[in-house]
């Protein structure tokens, strides 16, 4: 959209065209970030699963055996090496961090921060009418919102599994035993510990989604108002062009 070619033109339409281009860029940025967030979220679950497999292998190959001598006798316990835990879960932690980053940046952009990335503006002579463009943008945002919401499934699963693993390991290292402690406590604690930290992230995602959709809805509503008023004032009250 070349709006700077003639400096004698009034600036208002240029402002509107620049704003339309920015709106287009925002939609593109939101869809792109939503997709990246989804990739990172599923990647987190995948990396977490691989981490667990790796940890099991390390446990079999390099067990750290601890012998405890007490009054009742000698007991031995084995655990995977501490460095193994770091190696196994570092990729999942990095992917989780990247997913959270996308969420936070996405919300900032949707609330008015400068949109990231570039968008190729369509050739004005072939650009779709605004009503079509906004309709398509709304559809893209709705699909993107669904993608963002579904991305919480792998995050929740990964968090729960991680919390369960942590609680179970904690109980084992403290030498607790019994079916209740082995199965029930880690599961319940895992659910609670896994879901609670995700709630603020889900809240951020909702703010991100809503901000983009509300902006488009407002623009669409105001454009329809402007169109009606334009037709009423300049094209005669009864005749739609």
């Amino acid at each position: 959209m070349d709006v700077g070619e003639d400096s004698s033109r009034p600036r208002s339409v240029e402002v509107a065209e620049l704003g339309l281009a920015e709106s287009r860029r925002r939609v593109d940025a939101q869809v792109r970030r939503g997709r990246r967030f989804s990739w990172f979220a599923w990647g987190f679950l995948f990396a977490f699963g691989l981490g667990e497999i790796l940890l099991s292998l390390l446990f079999l190959l390099f067990p750290m055996v601890t012998t405890t001598v007490s009054g009742s006798g000698t007991s031995t316990s084995s655990a995977p090496p501490a460095w193994g835990i770091l190696v196994a879960f570092a990729p999942a932690a990095v992917l989780l961090g990247l997913a959270v980053r996308e969420l936070v940046l996405g919300r900032r952009e949707a609330r008015g921060g400068p949109p990231s990335g570039r968008t190729t503006d369509p050739d004005p002579s072939n650009a779709p009418p605004w009503i079509e463009e906004i309709r398509v943008a709304q559809q893209r945002l709705t699909r993107g919102a669904s993608e963002i919401e579904w991305s919480f499934v792998p995050l929740v699963l990964g968090f729960i599994a991680f919390a369960e693993l942590g609680v179970a390991s904690g109980l084992a290292s403290a030498n607790f035993s019994g079916a209740g402690l082995t199965f029930v406590v880690p599961s319940v604690a895992g659910l609670l510990i896994g879901i609670v930290p995700l709630w603020p992230l889900y809240h951020i995602a909702q703010q991100w989604i809503r901000a983009g959709q509300e902006r488009l809805e407002l623009q669409s509503r105001r454009l329809v108002q402007l169109e009606v008023e334009f037709v009423w004032r300049f094209a005669g009250s009864g005749s739609t062009p």
Binding site: S12, R111, E214, L218, P241
Partner: protein
């Protein structure tokens, strides 16, 4: 027949004429429209009385006083709707900020 006129196209067409009468081809180029769309919208603005053939002849088109009003109405209205959001202000979560009026930016 255009069912719903694209306000950006109408505004661009009128804007291309506010500086003075134009022949069809330069007008089409300044409005940035392909020929089919240009012809449809030219018919539309002529029918609405916003643009008329220039009395001097020579196949030029000129904007009428009604067209000047329509151009101002559209350019102000569109600028208000699409002005880039100002992140420093509260209440711009929806991305709609006050219009940047000519001469104030």
């Amino acid at each position: 027949m255009i069912e719903r006129p694209d306000l950006f196209v109408v505004a661009r067409l009128l804007e291309a004429l506010v500086d003075g009468p134009q022949l069809k081809t330069p007008l089409q180029q300044r409005a940035g429209l392909n020929y089919t769309v240009f012809q449809r919208y030219l018919d539309l603005v002529v029918r609405f009385g916003m643009v008329a053939p220039d009395p001097s002849g020579e196949g030029r088109f000129a904007v009428t006083p009604k067209g000047v009003d329509a151009h101002r109405f559209l350019s102000d209205g569109l600028a208000k709707i699409f002005a880039p959001p100002d992140p420093s202000r509260d209440g711009v979560r929806a991305g709609i900020a006050p219009a940047t009026r000519p001469g104030t930016s």
